[in-house]
Amino acid sequence: MSRRFTPKVVTASDLRQGDVVWLTADDRWTRDIAEAELVEDEAHAELRLLFALGQPQTVVGPYLADARRGPNGPEPMHFREAFRARGPSNYPHGKQAVRG
């Protein structure tokens, strides 16, 4: 019996800015997790990660992070990924500053 696959997003750090990016279904890197591709199939997830690993001039350290489908697009599951998607809690910097 295979265990149920938890959907994933591909995420990494941008090489130049160092900030958090997510991979979209049309092969772009976005700074808004809601625009990311939610990958619900394990084999496809591996392919998408391989694609990301093939872009070392754009991103650093790509990996698969657990995510869930939300009303506006993928949402992080683990609190670490939630912080990455939002920014630090002591100042309105990071992604939360961009979104306003």
Binding site: S13, L15, R16, Q17, G18, D19, V20, P56, Q57, V60, G61, H78, F79, R80, F83, R84, G87, P88, S89, N90, Y91, H93, G94, K95
Partner: protein, 556 residues
């Protein structure tokens, strides 16, 4: 203050040029990340949770006004307008862009600063007592020795690929403010029976996943033997330290696994071999460095105005009571500037605040500032006559908080708000504790209290040596905070004991409040500190306060 020689200047500039080229090659694709990572780390550049982070060395925590102003300029031009002072007496910028880092390093080199060896498995920035050269209780200024070790260890070819990072701390005072026993090597300056200068050398201290206090390997090392002896310790560690397991690679594990006696025998054998190779160049250099650390020409100003202001002004009096320490000159004081305003991020200073501190140092304090490992800024030499003006200027800049050594003077690592290694946040916990006890108006009644918070097991926040330590972990997908009790960072160093199960993020502040209220109820009197009460009573009554349900169950 020590000024860079032409050699230092050329060395640092060459490093910046190298790194500029390395960044260009990374951006062009000529270097992979695997190739680039060790190069950027050697220049203090990390990739963290939200951005790159540049860690700038502040050797033995000493800064001039000009250097502090340059940090302000960097914060404004290339970062988000602030810097974060750390428990390693360094400063970190949390938001630089990769392509800007060579320019930042050039700007640092303009004022004799750099980020070399602030990361990697090498000898890191040497730390020292932040009151060095000023404290009334000091035997000798430890900074010349720290500077000698910096010069010896910078790019030392034999020690650039140690099994793991290596930290050395020096104190010149019997009251240890440099946490020497939590370092790979701790040096305490001493004089022997005949008055000759030397060091008590401890080895194998460290916090992190396996906290250990350093053990004395040489009770008295003559000053002339310092570098060859350090070299012998490093050689022994370099050869015997484990490279198979990162978590067992620090010297504390090497000493623990081999036993102090066997480790010491090996060190002494090597020392005997290499000692003759040191023919006095190191001694001559130390003498030169010492001259550069000559104390300022202390001004003799009347203290009557200071006394009158203290009698007249309650806010100034409160600040004097907590933020001043005795200076070796009776008409001077050591000022600790709190970077812990209630609700602020411990260790953060805005560019504007950095400029205020630089101006005050220049105008009133012989152009000298220090970074303390407790994440505050120190003006080491201030004539008492100037203290009212210094306080007024600090208060106007949001830097006048009178809380040094109190419950809101919390050490906190960046935690999961910034750090890629963290397992939980630290900063919001520190902010909430400080605000809670400010709202209760209890912190002066509580008295001396060291709370130290780490956001992971690596213990950058020194939680093991906090009177109350807080360690942030992940448990079942949420942040969980473990409390340790009874730690001590001084010459009486002790590792705190774990109190029991962890607390959720929204439970940790109420837990700390119960703990502190229990202390207030149990103490023999206002003069018995939390740590003294804990030592007298043991952990049981404090555990009962932390886990009331368990206590009720046990009583039933």
């Amino acid at each position: 203050m020590y000024r860079y020689s032409d050699f230092d200047e050329a060395f640092v500039r060459a490093r910046v040029a190298q790194f500029r080229d390395q960044v260009a090659r990374r951006l062009s694709g000529a270097l992979t990340e695997d190739e680039f990572k060790p190069l950027r780390l050697m220049n203090g550049l990390y990739l963290q949770l939200h951005a790159y982070m540049l860690r700038v060395a502040i050797p033995y925590g000493t800064l001039s006004a000009r250097q502090m102003r340059q940090l302000a300029l960097i914060a404004e031009r290339w970062d988000k307008g602030y810097g974060h002072f750390t428990t390693r007496q360094n400063v970190q910028f949390n938001w630089p862009r990769l392509q800007d880092v060579p320019d930042i390093l050039d700007a640092l080199a303009d004022v004799g600063m750099h980020a070399i060896q602030t990361s990697g498995n090498c000898i890191r920035n040497v730390t020292a007592d932040h009151f060095a050269g000023a404290a009334a209780d000091e035997i000798a200024d430890p900074r010349p020795v720290a500077e000698l070790i910096r010069q010896w260890s910078t790019d030392h070819p034999e020690f650039s690929f140690l099994p793991r990072k290596f930290k050395i701390a020096v104190t010149g005072s019997p009251n240890d403010r440099a946490v020497t026993r939590a370092h790979d090597i701790g040096l305490r300056m001493l004089r022997d029976g005949s008055g000759a200068a030397g060091f008590e050398v401890s080895v194998g201290g460290g916090l992190g996943r396996t906290p250990m206090l350093g053990q004395v390997i040489r009770p008295f090392l003559p000053e002339a033997d310092l570098l060859p002896y350090l070299e012998a310790v490093l050689q022994t560690y370099n050869a015997a330290g484990r490279r198979d397991n990162k978590y067992k690679a620090r010297i504390k594990i090497t000493v623990f696994e081999h036993g102090l006696a066997a480790f010491r025998d090996e060190v002494e054998t090597r020392f005997a071999e290499i000692r003759p190779e040191f023919r006095g160049a190191d001694r001559a250099l130390l003498a030169e460095i010492r001259a550069a650390f000559a104390p300022p020409a202390f001004a003799r100003l009347p203290v009557g105005g200071f006394e009158a202001a203290r009698a007249r002004d309650g806010a100034f009096r409160a600040w004097c009571a907590t933020n001043l320490a005795p200076h070796r000159e009776g008409d001077h004081a050591i000022v600790t500037i709190s970077l812990k305003a209630h609700g602020a991020t411990p260790g953060d200073a805005t560019a504007a605040q950095m400029r205020v501190m630089a101006d005050l140092a220049e105008r009133y304090a012989y152009d000298e500032l220090r970074v303390s490992h407790e994440q505050n800024i120190v003006l080491p030499h201030v004539p008492k006559a100037h203290l009212p003006a210094v306080f007024d200027a600090l208060a106007a800049a949001g830097l006048g908080t009178a809380n040094i050594g109190l419950i809101s003077d919390i050490i906190a690592c960046p935690g999961m708000d910034y750090c890629a290694l963290a397992t939980a946040r630290s900063i919001p916990v520190a902010q909430a504790i400080a605000q809670r006890f400010a709202a209760l108006d209890l912190e002066h009644a509580i008295g001396p209290m060291k709370i130290k918070i780490s956001g992971c097991i690596n213990a950058c926040g020194h939680h093991h040596v906090g009177h109350i330590g807080i360690l942030g972990l992940e448990k079942a997908g949420v942040e969980s905070y473990q409390i340790t009790l009874g730690g001590d960072a001084t010459e009486l160093a002790a590792i705190g004991e774990r109190a029991g199960p962890g607390f959720a993020h929204d439970e940790i502040v109420p837990a700390i409040e119960r703990l502190v209220r229990a202390y207030l109820a149990l103490r023999a009197g206002p003069d018995e500190t939390f740590l003294a009460a804990f030592r007298r009573l043991g952990p049981a009554p404090f555990r009962a306060a932390l886990y009331p349900e368990e206590a009720r169950r046990d009583a039933a």
